[in-house]
Symmetry: C2
Subunit: 360 residues, 2 copies
């Protein structure tokens, strides 16, 4: 297969971890006889430095010509980076929000998986995670508070700030369908999370999810309030298969779930629209404190590349091959610092990339 893959190296540890993921994609090309071409794109801090804007029209246009985009993490340290002296709409994160909207990436998939060999890193007690856990958080990514009208004004000496949270049935339906489709290929359960005892948007959310559920009688649906879900993720993460929720709740819950795994450096993510296109990136941040040191864990980005192969290029076998290679390397007990156990051999970003390539 021929495919053009956009590459956004990003900020902080971004360039290092993306380099390893590209190495893995190159190995896949060779082994499976594909032909990938890579197109370098700018977003975030790197784009501000080069162009003055976190996301240019050129990047958007180029991204649209790609089958998929692989991205490192975006942004810097808000306390020290000059990017954070800029107005909010010119900061690195604004580029991220804009590309989500411009490319209509409404479906954000964030797996939170406890790897057997990484149980020691999980903050939860042994007995709570004996069965492991493996959930997929499906976050709506282009609606809600993130993209509502907002204002900050002064009236009669009082400063008033407003944000608005809007959802239409159309927006809810398309993400719900995605969640049910994915649940069907997994363990067949969707937990839809809202705050229907308070919000009208959540009441509509629940209605529409119930409507969609009628077409998926083989999938079990439960509704959970967001405050309860924040508790259940800590108390009993094993109960979840697919969690379906709106943008802001998804932001909070997916980060909580990623921390519950104890190994955020392992977690991939995908942001999809209604074509095969997707933007793939590690769940973790740009970790400016360890940038350039060659110690960051590239696995989340490598697994994001695997998601890219699976969801955008339909290369399921190749994706599985990467996942297996990662599994094997974990068993060798050669680890980057963030996932090192007591008797692990500690290796760097590049060595980790090489080891995984060697298993492909």
């Amino acid at each position: 297969m021929e495919a053009t893959i956009g590459i956004i190296r990003g900020d902080g540890i971004g360039p290092e971890i993306v380099t390893e993921a590209v190495k893995v994609l190159n190995k896949i090309q060779v082994v499976f006889g594909h032909s990938f071409s890579f197109k370098e794109l700018l977003l975030g801090g790197a784009s501000i430095d080069a162009t003055g804007e976190p996301l240019t029209e050129a990047t958007i246009k180029e991204a649209k010509t790609c089958e998929a985009v692989l991205m490192g993490s975006i942004g810097g340290d808000p306390n020290t980076s000059p990017w954070y002296q800029l107005p909010a709409n010119l900061r690195p994160e604004a580029g991220l929000l804009k590309i989500r909207k411009e490319l209509n990436l409404f479906a954000n998939l964030r797996p939170a998986v406890l790897y057997d060999s990484l149980k020691a890193a999980c903050p939860l007690k042994e007995e709570l995670i004996s069965g492991g856990f493996d959930m997929m958080i499906m976050r709506e990514l282009t609606g809600g508070l993130y993209f509502g009208e907002r204002s900050l004004e002064e009236k009669d000496g009082v400063r008033i700030a407003k944000d608005s949270l809007t959802y239409t049935d159309v927006e809810i339906r398309r993400i719900a369908i995605r969640a049910f489709e994915i649940a069907r290929k997994r363990r067949g359960k969707v937990t839809s999370v809202d705050k229907a005892n308070v919000l009208d948007s959540s009441r509509l959310w629940r209605q529409v999810v119930n409507e969609v559920a009628k077409d998926y009688e083989d999938v079990e649906l439960e509704h959970m309030l967001v405050d309860n879900c924040a508790m259940q993720l800590v108390k009993n993460p094993q109960q979840f298969d697919v969690i379906l929720t709106e943008n802001m709740f998804g932001d909070i819950l997916s980060d909580e779930a990623s921390m519950v795994t104890g190994s955020i450096g392992m977690l991939a993510s995908a942001s999809l629209n209604d074509t095969a296109f997707g933007l793939y990136e590690p769940s973790g941040g740009s970790a400016p404190d360890i940038a350039g040191k060659g110690v960051a864990n590239p696995i989340a980005t490598i697994l994001s590349a695997a998601m890219l192969l699976k969801y955008s290029l339909g290369l399921d076998e190749e994706a599985a091959c990467i996942e297996e290679a990662v599994g094997k390397v974990l068993e060798l007990n050669q680890r980057t610092l963030d996932i090192a156990g007591e008797d692990s051999v500690i290796i760097g970003t590049e060595e980790m990339g090489n080891l995984i390539c060697a298993e492909i």
Copy 2:
């Protein structure tokens, strides 16, 4: 001292746990020579059953004549209780939201404490909680998404739901001042939680909190994004002293924090306005599944009564006396089911109340 205390028994386990807390208040009266009179008020499901409304004008009027109100938990099982067949604004929770607004209870205090003798119940690994933790979550309770304009309408065949999130500097300042005042009496640290990289309301929140901080140079202030806070509560709860946040984030984070303690049946809460008045209630829910069985843990309600003595009546010594009594009973290792360890003697709601009274 003479004081009138409103008593809302509430739904589910509410009546049982409130009975024990009232018993404790009675013991305090006798031991310390106070004269409390109790006024029974209706709210939630019990009020719907008696009057058809979750909160009547009569209750509001009566509550205003009390120095403080002690409340059990409100609501039933949404899947089985007839209350949830009613329109949203007539359900038990609507009464709770209304009383918060009517009495201007803008400051919600939710302690999340890990008791030494209950470490076994904490879902986090031993090494993460070796130093224990003790935080106070200060949630803004009368603004934000909870009380914004909302609508659910159909236009050209599309259903559109809207909620709005508004904060004024006045609302933010008064809760921030409370947080700094409380931090000053504790370990001197405020973590203000927002989503300032996305929301205008959060940008105003951060501005105003920074302004207030200038009057509290002895208190350390840090800002944290809500998604990061959801992670940090699991990774390292010891870092927090006072967490200050808006209504919806506070709902989610306080529940997450309560679960991190592993003993939600121990957690009190207070909702205060700008007078000495307050509404005090356990953090946990009404647990309809165990209602009427005499097994519910009354400690959260008893500790809520202690908060009432401290915050509304200024009876610090009496409050401390209740807290110590609870501590002593925990050491006896006689426990209700929810906090029982391997070799605990399991006791019921009433016995627990009696044991605590005996220590006063």
